[in-house]
Amino acid sequence: MCDKLLPYAWLIPVFPFVSFIMLLAFRHRLQAYSSYIGSALTGLSLVAAIVVWVTGWSVQSVQHTGVWLAFESVELQMGTWITPLNLVMLNIVAFISVCVHIYSHTYMKDERRRSTYFAWLGLFTAAMLGLCLSPNLLQFYMCWELVGLGSFLLIGFHFEEDKAKAAAKKAFIMTRIGDIGLLAGLILLYWQTGSLQFTDIYTVISSGELEAFHVTLISLLIFAGAVGKSGQLPLHTWLPDAMEGPTPVSALIHAATMVAAGVYLVAVLHPLFMASDTALTVVAVTGGVTATVAAVIAIAQTDIKRILAYSTISQLGYMMLALGSAALAAGVFHLMTHAFFKALLFLTAGVVIHHFKTRNIHQMGHAFSELRFTGMTFLIGTLAISGFPLFSGFFSKEAVLSAVWHDERYLLFSLALLTTFLTAFYMFRLFFIVFMGQGKPTSGPKKALSMALRLPIAALSVPAIGAGFLYTPWFSAFGNWITQWQTAQIDPGHEVPWWMMPSAIMCSLAGIMLAWVMYQKLRVPLRELPYLHAFTLRGFYMDELYHYTIKQPLQFMSTTTVYIEKFVVETVMESSSSFVKWVGKYGARLQSGQVQTYGAVGFVGLSILVFILFWTGGYF
């Protein structure tokens, strides 16, 4: 069974790609059907992904590749690769993409450029699925960049708005900075290992032939790519701005899938990172600091999508922290649960934004009574992300915490625990203000949510509640499945200290309580701490920092070069052309018409030539 079907895994990304081509080529004719075409083709790829999952779940690692580019010593390949890790990613991406396609059917129904929208979604989905199937780092990188293109196009979808334009530009450039690191890393890795196939890389690493310096350098360069894509500090500032894109896009790209690609990259190259303690430490510290800082910033935000964006950054930090603590399974597990509940949160937030016609949470309120279904599902997402017991986020956060504890990085552990508290606090702050706050009911007629909106939200709520039971302290099948194929080791399944679970629960409950007291009971006015509040609201002034430390020096350098070009290079070059003119001008005077002068010059010249001929004795 699996021999017959797995070679066709390449079809998974082809379906959405066909949707992209069709919708782009016939964008006017297919305008009315664009959402159906997009959803159907993505649906097909979900079916294909599920089929591959069902047939290939016992498989450790199966490759089907062909030569893409070869000359003498170099051979680069393309193809598909099925491993437990890929299967998880494929199914998450396909599932959420289908949800977002269906949701967009209603959400984007008044859009003039629907075909284009669904075409870009198809391009993104195809690239993302291709990324998950990559058997080597080169194909991975190619899809990685195309994913970035899709993100750029969708953030800038409303191209006439200056904010969207700036956000698209920022996202592309910031992630590209990291990508260049990844490209350098993969080239260096190629020269070290002689191949870019992941399986070959594993073999070389396990043989221990690589120098420690190279391993550290390469893994840090590759991590730079992950930092850019996954919005880790210090390259995170593009992600909150990316919220200018349509909300379903934020759910798919900037919450559930693309930003998780950086985590996936570290996961798939985990043996490489494991070979260098420095690299692991860098990953863990980056993750831990990002998780806390982003959570602090999220507290002060007033834009519902920006709050969710910072919370995404923070949760991605958790995943990095887990991977940096040598816990592959915990990181991937949190990636999975986060994908579900964050997509759910964004999709419900889309309904809320649509309802209130604003993204500022202080102009919302009282939504629970009007949007019962949305309120309930948003609450599910909020409980899951806050780590409320038995929701999916609870178990994955638990796994992350115990991994960090086990890794004996106690400072990072306390940061992670603090972040649990902060997460619960800012998420319930959001929930209480938007759904329970005092706001006058909107006057418009109540309209039931369309099926196309309800269905994806409902479909996402199920795993947001239940996906956690796949990997619990007493049931580690998922962990074994994810780790075993890569290193032939069973997930160690750490001995969890008895106080771990209660303290995590305490932290998240404390956060919820504090939010309830402050925003429900006392209704604390905002801006109580003037400077600190402004500081956090502006995201620790990171944008301003970059403006003065990178953008302005770059502009200065560029202006300087323009002046060098103008006054140094042009002047010197100008002199060579004026030299030609000078020769022409004075050379012309030689032609004076005096035959005696001509004769004299001719005679002297001839004697010099004859002299040379005799001196050298023939040819020179």
Partner: protein
Amino acid sequence: MDWLSLLIFSPILGMLLLATVHRKNESLIKAIAVSATALSMVIAVLVFVLFHQGISHAVSYQWINFGHDNIVFLLNYELGVQGFSVLLLLLTSVLTLLAAFVATFQIKKNLKPFFLWLLIMEVGMLGVFSSENLVLFFLFFEMTLVPMFFLIGRWGDRERERTAYRFLIYNGLGSAVLLLAISALFARTGTTNIALLQEIMANEVQGSAAISETFRNGILWAMLIAFGIKMPIVPLHTWMVRVHVHAPPVLVIIHAGVLLKIGAYGIITFGAGIFPEQFAQISTFIAILGVINILYGALLALGQTELKHVLAYSSVSHMGIVLLGVAALNQPGYHGAIFQTLSHGVIAALLFLIVGIVHSRTQSTQLKDLTGLAKAMPIASGCWLVAGMATLGLPGTSGFISELLAFLGLFETEPILAGVGMVGLILTTVYVMRIILSMTHGKHTLKPPTELRDLTHSEMAPVFVLVLLIIAIGVWPSLLTSTLNLTVQTISIGIGG
């Protein structure tokens, strides 16, 4: 059958026909020009196909002989192609056809002389890439200069005459240096046949006098300067920026797409090809020049306020990658350099094709005037996006393959310089984002959108051909490597790579 001569001189048929047509009969002139260039393209495709079937196309006729006693100077009419040059022939013929086609609606006055010059130039360009002999190469090389001088001087913008003179002076200087180098080689070795020269330099056959290291270095440097002006290598680039800006966009398609590639072709085939050991000695220096080209060009591109200036400096920056690839002295590096030569030809052609189209709508190429074209011109904007993405080397476009291979090569031999060069890729991203976003995104303010027509059907044809070429090479690079393998092996065996 002598396919190459047929190819090179095929445009002359068109010229003869054009000569008989009255200059007022514009539609006939256009038809003849397009079909003449199309004919050359068909022959070029035939040459390519035959080459793939193992026909080397080498021809040699006795041409000029002189000398006395045992020292004979042989100057034959020798043509031949290898993988690199056959692809350049294809590129030349395709871009000339596209340029002729685009010129039919973008050039408004003096059509007859325009096409006559264009066809002469095509003879020169096709000849350059099929000469197996340096003197012949030089003759064809000069044959491209004169038409270009008149084309810039007559059909350019207000600065056209100054630009034409500037073009002539710099290229004339380059030619003078090249001529000196060729004469010295000829005098010393008695031949200008490239294959024979390679042999002589490799093992000094025929008992010719020992050729000193100084002499070899001297000739190599002369060639570097001559082709460095053409390519261009910073700081010899100022003339080409002017040409990019002041020549008509349709001519820049040929200029950036083919003529500048003669520089890269010369450095790869003659510089590294004939003097491999000397070239290997200065490879670090070449790599440094490449890095300077990349960074300097990119920084300047960032600081410009006019679109054509940005693109001109972007060409400077991208030629740096060719230098990096050659300086790597290994197989991936050479492939990268050659891919970059070809791919930049196609990308630059697409960029200037769209610039020409946009200019015909907006009458301005100032970045501040060009905003929000995506609404009125979605197809043009989409193609502009493809061109921009190819410029910054997005996977799936031809630009990625060349950057990947060039850096893959250089990281093996000069990892530090390669790392510095990669910073240039970030700068490239920044200026490409700037030109894409400022042209397509935002709101258009200059004219009502009704006046901005999207691509017409006749404009779509050349634009789509180039877009497809860029993507085809990017997705399926083996298309080119199968043709290139032989060339690269020849070069790298010489260098010992």
